[in-house]
Every structure is written in C-alpha cells, then in structure tokens.
Amino acid sequence: MWSTAREIAPGDTVIAWLTRDLIQPLVVTPGKDLNIRFGYYRHDDLVGVPYGSKVGSRNGKGFIHVLRPTPELWTMALPHRTQILYLADIAFITSHLDIKPGSRVVEAALAHASDSLTRQPPQYFAYLDQLLDLTPHFFAGTGSGSFSHSVARSVGKTGHLWSYEFHELRASKAKEEFTRHGLADIVTLTHRNVCKDGFTVESAADAVFLDLPMPWSAIPQAKKALRKDCLTRICCFSPCIEQVQRTVTALNDAGFTEITMYESLVRPHEVDQVPPMRSVDDACEILKKAEQKREDKRLRQIAATRQNLANKRKREGEADLAEEESHHDTASGKRTKTDEIDDIPQEPISLDRNIAGSSEVADSTKPTAKTTVSKAFPEVRGHTSYLTFACLLPASPEVTVDA
C-alpha cells in the first residue's frame, strides 16, 4: 500500500502535517519545492528523513511533521475535512461486515451530483437532488475513497475490493489514486450505475457496502454479487430514516436475515487545565464583608445627615439656596436607608476582584495545583448516517428457503 520503510524515499506519498486543521498529502519528488505559510521546503530535504520527523523550514519560518500515510490520515488530508468524523462509521462497518485479511468486498458509492445524473429519469433526479441537498457532505464521504482505503488496508493482498463509482470523472480520478497508492492489485474500480447495470462480479463477495441514495434498488444486484457458499453480509449507509425503512423492506423481501440498524458517533473532547474550584465558603465570607461594609457606610451617612440637620437648624433663616442644598442631602440620606437595592451598584460587590484576591492568598500557601478537566466540544456531529446491516445465509440443500 504505502511505504513501510523507516525513512522517506523519493516517490513516497507522505502526509505533511502543518496543523491539526491543515494536513496535506505530498508525493516526494526531488527537485520540487514546498512553499507554504509554514516556511519553504525542498522535497530533497525529506528524502532519507525517518517518517514521523519534525522538519524545520529552510527559511526558519516554522516546521512541519512528515507522517506515514494511513487511511485515517488520508481521509483527514482530503479537502472535505469533516469526514474524519466518519471514522466511527467506517470502523464499525468494518467490524460488523467482518472485513479482515482475505475478505472480498464490494463497494458502491456515489460522488457529487454530476452530469451523468441528468440522464436519469426526472423523478430519480429530483429525489437525488433532495437527498444531496439534505446531506451535501455525505456523498462526497465514501465516494472520496475513505472507505476504500480503509478496506484495502484491512483486506490486504489476499483480499479484494471491487469498487463501483457512479460518477465518471470521480471514477477515473479514484482509479489513478488507487494506482498511485499501490492498491491497483487490491482494488478494482469500475465506473457504472449499479442500480441499473448491477455488479461485474457474481457470487464472489463476502460483504457488500452500499453508499447510494436508493440502496434498495441495488439490493437484488447485491445479492447476486454475494457468495452463496457461506454466510455473507451487507451494509447500507443512509442518512435518512425513510431510506432505511425502504431498505429494510427490500432486504427482507430479498431473503436477508438478522436485519439490524445502528448509529455510531464520536464525541471529541477538549481537555483543559483549570485552577481548583472555589468553595462557597469564600463567597459567603466575601458577601458578609460586603454587607458589613455597606452597613458601616449607611451608619456613617446617617450620622453625617444628622450632623447636617443640626448644622441646618443652627443656620435657620439663612439663604434659600443653602436650604435647598441641605434638603438634597437629607433626601440622599433617606434613600440609602430605604432603597438598598439601588445601593448595590454604588458599592458593587466585586466578587471576581475579591476572590482573585483571596485565591492569591490560597496560592501563596499551596502551589497552583491545576485540575485537568474534559468536556465534549461545543459543536459536535449529531448524525452521519444510519447503518443498516443484514446477513445472507448460505443457500445449501440443508436449508429449504421457501416456507
């Protein structure tokens, strides 16, 4: 598949890891340059470097990591990056279909809507359009080779994958890609509409995987492609529940058994280190202090008002202006007494500031013992697709199928 040598050789496909969100495949071609935001590199510099090395740029503007490709990394390096979330689906399907070294697998996928679709009957096109509209990212998913690469890895040289691509351009591109990745012996790629024309193999596959908008229409063909001398399995990958229901009916009618359906997701977590959480005891103390402070102030203000009143009485008969002023003072004094809520903004209980102060005290007594916490990312994928599975029992004389 890809190079298993320790060091990178000319012609190897490597994965250049720039950042977690910026990963790109690279065919090491001596003489070529790589000029990116993270510096300037020459492909020659990568030759002979062990896989997994950090490589500094020639102009000192950053570095990259050069990794050995895996189907998972390859998926991450694709332009449709969200697809790594399908790891859960691909992994689960591989296990449920029991894909292992030596397995023979049939896969039918459909890439983006293309010109070839217009040749279909109008209602098919409308339906497809609707589906593509609902899940624009989805059909690019396995059609982009994520599943194919993963399966090719798992079945190895003794197994085989027949991959059927509906979209002509995508088919020829994928074919090129498989050849470049040394998978030409393992993967046979055919451009065709399997719903209409069926598969090129008969009674040959251990497992069939359908990533089609109307999987039910390909089920009779899928049954033909499956081996009849042992138990075989099928998986249909559909984002909508209506698709699942029609698929289940079709599977049942075609004689498949053990029909089950799953949803599998990954919830990525972010890890953080936070200072130890504060006790409400602290908050309690701070509130008590604030309350005391406010009360002290109120008492001071009452005392001041009384003083003012006394002074006022002494100066009775003085100018009107002075009287007005003292009246204003009385009013403000009263307000403090009765309207305590208004008082708070005047004397804000700065919880944060105060607690920051108190935690400084705590910090001085013990070193900053941070706690590690984790939580799911604020936005995670809530749905990828429904995975419908079924088995086909061997058609041997020991079983009489018709009841």
Binding site: V266, R267, L393
Partner: protein, 454 residues
C-alpha cells in the same frame, strides 16, 4: 482463498460456539466430536450434529437431534382499529397448568416452520403452536389487543417455549458483543464501536508490527490478531509471569497460525537492564545423565531462547502502533514502551474513564514526542426496525469508554515555530525601523556602530 474462507465459516470440532437462544441470551458451548452439548431448559444434543454446518443457521432441538430451520423473515402486521381501551388487567388470563403442559409436551411435535409466522393457526399443529394457541384461548382479552400487541404476546410466548437456537459466527463483532453483555467489567467497557475505532486508528493491517497492552481479557489482542490474519508480529506486555490466557480468544476460534505471530513479555522481562532469572542449568552435554533430564534441559533452553528472542524483538523497536486497554497507569506504560515506538507510530489508548486519559493528554501535549493527542468518547445506538415500528432501542449502552489517539514523532529542537519566527521578524523590523530613524542613509554595520559612538 475462497475455499479457506468457506471452511472458516463452518463449525469445526474443537470450536467454542456461541448460541443465541430464544430469550435473547447467548451461550458459549464447546463443540467437540462425540461430546454432548447441553443448553439448560432447551435440552441437549450431540456436538456431531453441529459440526460442518455453517455458522449462522437456526436449529430446533428434536429429541437428541437437530433440525435446521429456514431463515426467518420480518412479517408485516396489518393495522386494525383495536386499542387498549377495553382491556383491563383483571387477571383474565388463566395460566396453563403444569399438567396440561406436560400432556402437550408428551404429544409434542416439533416446529418445522418459522415460529414467528404471524398467523399461527394456519401452520401445522405442533407443540409450540399448540401451547401458544392454548394460552391465547385462555386469554379472554386477546382479540381486543392491537396487532402489534398480539405479535408481542406471541413472541414472548415463543421465546419461552421454543426449543430453537441460532449459532453465531465467531466474528470480532459478535464475540465482543457476547463479552460486553456477559461482563463488561472484564473487558474494561470496551464496546465494539470503541474497539473498531481503536483498530482503525492503530492502522492494524496484515503484516504490521504492533505492541499491545491488554488487561481487557484479551479482547484487544483478539481484535489485532483478527485483523492481521497470521501475518506480521504482535508483542503483548502483561503483568503475569507466564503468558496470559486471554480468555476472549477462546470464542474467536483462531487457527494456530493466527496465534503464532504473537509473543508475550511481562513488565519485568520487557526491561532492558533486567536479567530474567531463568535457571538455564548450564549443563554440559556430557553431564546429562538421563533422557528425562535431557528433555527437561532442552525444554528450559527453548523457553530461555524464546524469551531472549522475544526480548530482542522488543528492543529492536520500530513498532507501528501501541494499543492499550490496561488497568495500569497509561503514563507509566508510555514511559516504558515509548522508546520502542517507530516514527509516525499510532498510539491508541482506551479507558473507561475520561479523567485518566485527560490527565495523560495533558502530559503528552507538553511533550514534543507526541503529535496532536486527541481524546474522544464513543457513542452507539441500536434501533428496532420492525415495519411501522422503527425507533431507537429503549435501552442503550452508555459506557463504551474513551479513546486517546496520538502520533509518535521525532522532535527537532532547532526547528522554529512559525509564530516565534513572526515575533522574531516583528522584533527585527522594529529594531531596523529605530536604527533607520537615527541613520537616514543605508549604511554598513560598522558605520552604524560609528554613528552610535558619535
């Protein structure tokens, strides 16, 4: 190849076979030629009846023999207007007495049609149908039930009385499910979706070289070996003196060549500076007195040589993945095994607890040897998909555990991060700006120094 796969799908003598019984439970039974298999209330039969049959078939126990039943379909149910409005739980169901039951069993005929046929009365009279019919007759409110409710009732009764079972193919999926349902603690909450993701993230493929630390009863090792098909190399590190039993492997029914690529070391013997204490009995050839002694000496020598070669294999390093599901501190595991991991090696660690892996993630993040350690939780939901009755299962497993994945990389301390470079550039730029303010014309360094001096 095709032939090989086909025989792999058949039950062989010596296999440990999983059987699903009507109440939904799974039993694990040993199938050996001429051995009698007993599955509790369902009865018993001879192993020979199962051997050479394909996995996945459904059988009925008739006397001491087995009869293969045809595959079952899901039956569509017809909607009726029935509701539960007239049904009151007044004990109107008269149970069938044990005497009646015995009489029916006595006269019993085996079931030769799918027992989930919705219209029981039309199929041939047999013990199961008789018994259910009898119960239905005594259930005065039965006809008031909705079709769905009737179906549920019949299914419940079938599960109770049917003497049928289905053999479950020994796939990783099925074996994992069996163990998860049986005792998820023993496999450290490693649910099949988590295990599948681990195997994919670790890039397990035929021909690879992997290090495995498995305290999950051998589930991880089984998964790795299953995906390698007897090609490559697996070293497991364990906490017991002799190679561990890995009980999960029993149900996988691996051919011997699948297991031969695996060898085990323990936490002491995997240490380079530790010399394992093996009394090799450095006995000279001429000192061996008896054949018995010679066998013993040879055996010990072989064991010692095997241990030594396994150790050398580990110390040679360059492993492609480290897969861990262990009761030990993952940080301590990494510390010991890190030096044997090759560049770009996938490190995949499972734990039932997020806390353990988040602590580990913090440590790994601080190290330049690990690229992008990422923590995730697995989530899996199964659906009931009966026609007109599709919905998620009312109960789902909430504990599949957490996975941490990272890539081992070789650091280059001289490489400058792009941000640091930008800061440096910015600093240089401001400095040049300043100096050019002082010296209007472009001058050589020496000139600048001279101007500064003046």
């Amino acid at each position: 190849m095709a032939e090989e796969a086909s025989t792999q799908n058949k039950i062989r003598s010596g296999d440990t076979v999983l059987l699903r019984i009507p109440n939904g439970d799974t039993r694990s039974v040993k199938v050996e030629k001429d051995l009698i298999v007993s599955i509790g209330r369902l009865g018993s039969f001879s192993s020979n009846e199962l051997i050479d049959h394909h996995y996945g078939l459904t059988f009925e126990i008739v006397g001491k023999n087995l009869v293969v039943l045809p595959p079952q379909n899901i039956q569509e149910l017809e909607e009726t207007d029935a509701t539960n409005e007239h049904i009151v739980g007044d004990g109107s169901v008269k149970p069938v007495t044990p005497e009646e039951m015995a009489a029916m069993k006595e006269a019993g005929v085996h079931v030769s049609v799918p027992f989930s046929q919705s219209n029981l009365r039309e199929v041939c009279p047999c013990f199961l149908q008789d018994i259910i019919k009898k119960q239905i007759d005594q259930h005065t409110n039965f006809e008031l039930k909705t079709e769905y409710s009737k179906d549920k009732y019949k299914k419940k009764k079938e599960a109770k009385y049917a003497k049928v079972f289905t053999t479950i193919p020994p796939t990783l999926f099925n074996v994992c499910e069996y163990w998860y349902n049986k005792d998820q603690g023993r496999i450290r909450d490693l649910r099949i979706d988590a295990l599948s993701q681990m195997l994919n993230l670790a890039n397990i493929r035929p021909g690879g070289r992997y290090l495995v630390v498995d305290d999950a009863s051998g589930l991880v090792v089984s998964g790795v070996l299953h995906r390698m098909g007897g090609q490559g190399r697996v070293l497991t590190i364990c906490d017991v003196e002799t190679p561990p039993a890995y009980p999960v492997m029993t149900q996988m029914n691996f051919p011997p060549e699948f297991k031969s690529i695996m060898a085990s070391l323990n936490w002491a013997t995997c240490q380079e500076d530790y010399t394992p204490i093996i009394s090799t009995w450095d006995v000279e050839e001429d000192q061996i007195r008896s054949d018995k002694q010679r066998i013993r000496v040879n055996k010990r020598r072989a064991a010692s040589d095997f241990l030594q070669s396994t150790r050398e294999d580990l110390f040679a390093g360059e492993f492609e993945a480290l897969v861990v599901a262990s009761e030990y501190d993952p940080q301590s595991i990494l510390k010991r095994l890190n030096k044997y991991l090759g560049g770009s090696c996938n490190i995949v660690i499972h734990s039932p607890y997020a806390q353990i892996l988040s602590d580990l993630q913090v440590v790994m993040r601080a190290s330049a040897e690990y690229l992008s350690p990422a923590l995730s939780e697995v989530w899996l939901r199964r659906y009931q998909i009966l026609p007109g009755r599709t919905h998620p299962m009312m109960n789902m497993s909430g504990a599949g555990g957490f996975i941490l994945h990272a890539t081992k990389v070789y650091d280059d301390p001289s490489a400058v991060p792009v941000e640091a470079h930008r800061r440096l550039q910015a600093k240089l730029a401001t400095e040049t700006q300043k100096s050019s303010d002082i010296v209007p014309s472009q001058q050589e360094e020496g000139d600048v120094a001279m101007t500064d001096a003046t």
